[in-house]
């Protein structure tokens, strides 16, 4: 099977969907003529293949980028637009939060907005907090938006293709560190349904729910804990909204213990939502208090040792698991 980084997998998904459906187009800052010359990046080569009519380099205008997606989607196209980094979401947020998310409802269901907003996220490259800030909980809190955060290249390909074909606005968040971690990706076209979590490792003692880059940390911790006789089940959410409660509840009812792991800061983070769902619907099966392993409540520092400390690692997850097992 081909080994691709997540950027390459995204690239393949974009290419396949653009070939399949002439309504699909992409727009964003440097999506055509990039400063990068690396095949590892999501939009590499697309301008050459599809031309400037469907691969649109925009000015530095996030509000207009998000807005053009809203308008074009309403008028029959399938825009896939890019906001370079998650923190720049704030500049695009009016069009996403007040328009993409609400206009379908506002119009009594008479309009649809089949659009995708792709954003890079994640800490770990020393760029400081105006480039590294995971805001998935913000978007997950807006009814009307679907939120996807893939953890593997293979999931990214299938989920992005599904997102492009979906009838609703989808926020698709790619952790930039995953661009450079190759994994197996099936060559043929395939879809992965939105709203389906995946058990990436089966276990019986404790459930770790996570997503995006943190899956790697969870798998690493699970391997360490296995050596000590603790059997971890790892649930990769893949989609935050709509939330696959069934998979989470099935797993937590089985293990009776829950740890939620995410890179985003703690207060108001999406871990709270997972804990609440399990509390409300599986309390009777739970044997121990829940734990959250998250980034601290601070902006991501640029300083290398401080940034390393910010990002949750296997040591922290192992410690949290041991507290409740």
């Amino acid at each position: 099977m081909q080994q691709l980084g997540m950027g390459q997998a995204v690239n393949q998904a974009l290419r396949e969907e653009m070939q399949r459906d002439s309504r699909v187009f992409i727009a964003g800052e440097g999506v055509g003529v990039s400063i990068h010359d690396s095949p590892m990046l999501p939009t590499a080569g697309l301008l050459g293949e599809f031309g400037p009519g469907r691969v649109k380099d925009t000015p530095v205008s996030e509000a207009a980028i998000a807005g053009l997606a809203v308008g074009a989607a309403a008028a029959g196209l399938r825009p896939v637009v890019e906001i370079m980094f998650n923190p720049f979401f704030t500049l695009a947020s009016d069009m996403i939060v007040n328009h993409a998310a609400k206009l379908r409802y506002l119009s009594g269901g008479k309009s649809t907005f089949p659009l995708v907003i792709r954003m890079k996220s994640g800490a770990g490259f020393g760029a400081g907090c105006q480039h590294s800030h995971n805001l998935e909980a913000w978007v997950a809190h807006c009814p009307g938006l679907k939120v996807i955060m893939p953890s593997t290249p293979a999931d990214a390909k299938g989920l992005l293709k599904a997102a492009i074909r979906d009838e609703d606005p989808v926020i698709f968040i790619e952790d930039m560190m995953l661009y450079f971690a190759p994994g197996p990706v099936p060559e043929e076209p395939y879809l992965i349904p939105i709203g389906k979590a995946e058990v990436k490792r089966e276990g019986s003692d404790v459930t770790v729910v996570t997503w995006s880059k943190m899956l790697g940390v969870a798998m690493q911790a699970a391997a360490q804990l296995a050596e000590e006789g603790i059997d971890v089940e790892v649930v990769d959410l893949r989609t935050l909204v709509p939330l696959d409660k069934e998979t989470i509840l099935q797993s937590t009812r089985k293990t009776g213990r829950l740890v939620v792991l995410h890179e985003a800061s703690r207060t108001g983070g999406f871990a709270g939502e997972i804990c609440a769902v399990v509390m409300e619907e599986a309390f009777g099966s739970m044997k121990a208090p829940f734990r959250r392993v998250t980034g601290p409540d601070i902006p991501v520092p640029a300083s290398p040792p401080l940034e390393r400390f910010y990002i949750p690692d296997a040591t922290k997850l192992v410690a949290a698991v041991k507290e409740i097992v």
């Binding site: 800052e29 990068h36 010359d37 530095v60 205008s61 105006q130 902006p299 400390f309």
Partner: protein, 335 residues
Amino acid sequence: MKTKSTRKTKAAALDRDHALYLLRSMIRIRRLEDKCAELYSAMKIRGFLHLYDGEEAVAVGVLEALTRDDAVVATYREHGHALIRGVSAGCILAEMYGKQEGCSRGRGGSMHLFDDKTHFYGGNAIVGGGLPIAVGLALADKMQNRPNVTCCFFGDGAVAEGEFHESLNLASLWKLPVLFVCENNLYAMGTALKYTQAVMDLARKAASYDIPSHAVDGMDVLAVEAAAKQAVEAVRAGEGPHFLECRTYRFRAHSMFDAELYRTKAEVEEWKKRCPIETFTQTLKSRGLLSEADLEKIERDVEGEIREAVAFAEACTWEPVEDLTRFVYSERRMS
């Protein structure tokens, strides 16, 4: 409404000390940036690093027009601005290393230099993010009857952001003391100006908000200085904001990851012929204001300054992780 095009450098008498200061300032920036590139390759500096080579005349010429009390707002390509404003090269490098003696305690890095003593309100990694803040700084000066000017640097790319237009309008409407300085280096990352602006004459944008504007040769430090001084004088006199478009060029890549496929080598070489340091050096030599010995001394001094700055940054320390949660909120009680 004045929208003047590039003015000619006046061949009027030039004070030798002042001229040498301008030249030395530009060389300090260039050598600091060269060192940053080297340290990046050595992995001492991480993250995104944006260098200012080729654009030195803009920061040096404009900052020369300000007083110590004026405020400065810059972009992520701001090492030179911080340096000339008076932040030491050591504190700048320590910040890029991520050390706690850095001017932002290592929390900001290359794009987020900050210094209260010199009223340097930052590096800012959000394109266009500095403009509304500059409006607020100027508003505060005006409301408190202080005679200060806020000088806001931003790139040609920022002109496409809504924050640019909202800020220019408000500053003009309320007659706020802001000098808007557009560092037009013709590219926003790999996107040429002709692909981002329907009206490429950026000075005309300001005119549409009734803000007096000038376009100036940003490769000519004397031209920049003269235009900036005139604009700052008018702003300080209470005329409201002014706009200066400095037409310049960055010699290096956008950041350290840039294959530069969007421009030709010939174009870069053509602009390098207008290098602000080399052309000014020639001007001064031809006017008999600069000897080889002067130049050697400047280079030697600057080399020493940078060497000491690197030694300082190397010797600085990492902030203990226990302190990580400090400064999210103020440690002061209510005033």
